[in-house]
Symmetry: C2
Subunit: 224 residues, 2 copies
């Protein structure tokens, strides 16, 4: 039985690392992988791998391992990674501009449909690769979110504005907010926020240097 | 015996999560924490906690747990988090500008000493909170890195420029590179690079939404 609800956040983080390793294995035409191989790739014990993957049902076969194609398809389906997901971006300052021209979102099946800012000087400026190719007034936020049933938003606004906008997003139906403002958002039931702290990335790099790690640690997952 | 070298990257990631939980416990005047509490906070098994913390020597006391003050001091010392570390930033485009005004680095004892760009139009412009308060020509990179013995750099340049600049940084003595360019850097022995993929952050948020997680997942560590 797959339990797709209530998977702990750290397990979800690992699932995305397992998925990446499995997709790489698929690219190399591997039919099966062992829990031991996955445990080494993600840096946890074998038992942890088996526990984590049990969230997706029982796919391990004794003496064979996990069937790569089956597990990838099931994970992508449960995680929603097989569908295009619409995203809105709020804030067209330096970070917002960097995010709106970021090509990596499209590669992972995210579609940036609109960019909003409350600065009248910015409204109407080009919005890089967004579907609506001009920055829109923040007044239009709810209408666009509701019309396109957007569930995901990226907040790149000053700390002082973040909480109010998060509440407006939640009321309009957004379920997940990726927050770059240096503030912990108060959320309501049914809404997930994820606050990105860029200094933590630098801290972890510094730790890797201090502890004698070398090589390229893409996203800190130790897969490279 | 503490083994400060060769700690696997995923363990280092967890160490920074343990450290944050321990610092929070310290703030609440807790004298000890159990491996069970740490395991819940970071989302791994008890055994994994004990294995990870063994890198810092034996601090667990049967029936008591880990002494918070001792463990925090030892971790901060081994991880170098007790010292101010100098950082240079290369690239003053949208992302570079967002990073140079980012206040979180200073809070974690990182000191942004200089910002470089190869665009003559940008050289001489203000560099926000950096110690050298003007953007400098990329020609000056090696001289500044060597003079100040800088070990950490942040790369916010186009993909096409990243590899060449990474090599220049390594030759000048940099040991850790936080790379925002969408390219895996080839490194040499003794140099660690960490490539940040912003789309992965959005992907993990989307997974949390899909799997029914709510609340604020600061840095995806599930501590909030």
């Amino acid at each position: 039985m797959a339990k797709s609800e209530g998977i702990p956040a750290p397990a979800v983080r690992r699932l995305s690392l397992y998925l990446r390793h499995l997709e790489n294995s698929q690219g190399r035409n591997r039919a099966t992988v062992s829990s031991r191989e996955l445990s080494r790739a993600v840096g946890v014990t074998d038992a942890q791998v088996r526990k984590d993957l049990a969230y997706f049902g029982q796919f391990g076969h004794p003496g064979i391992g996990y069937r790569v194609d089956d597990l990838v398809a099931r994970m992508r389906e449960i995680l929603g990674a097989d569908k295009v997901r619409s995203v809105v971006l709020i804030g067209a300052g330096n970070l917002g501009k960097a995010l709106m021209s970021y090509r990596g979102f499209r590669k992972k099946n995210f579609n940036l449909i609109a960019v909003f800012d409350n600065d009248p000087q910015k409204v109407g400026e080009p919005a890089a690769d967004a579907v609506c190719d001009r920055i829109q007034s923040l007044d239009k936020l709810e209408a666009v979110v509701r019309k396109h049933e957007v569930k995901l938003a990226i907040l790149a606004v000053p700390a002082s504005a973040a909480q109010v906008i998060a509440e407006r997003l939640a009321t309009a139906g957004v379920r997940g907010i990726l927050n770059f403002a240096p503030v912990i958002l108060q959320t309501r039931p049914g809404v997930t926020t994820s606050t990105v702290d860029l200094a933590v990335q630098l801290e972890q790099l510094s730790f890797l240097v201090t502890t004698g790690q070398t090589g390229d640690d893409r996203d800190g997952d130790g897969l490279n």
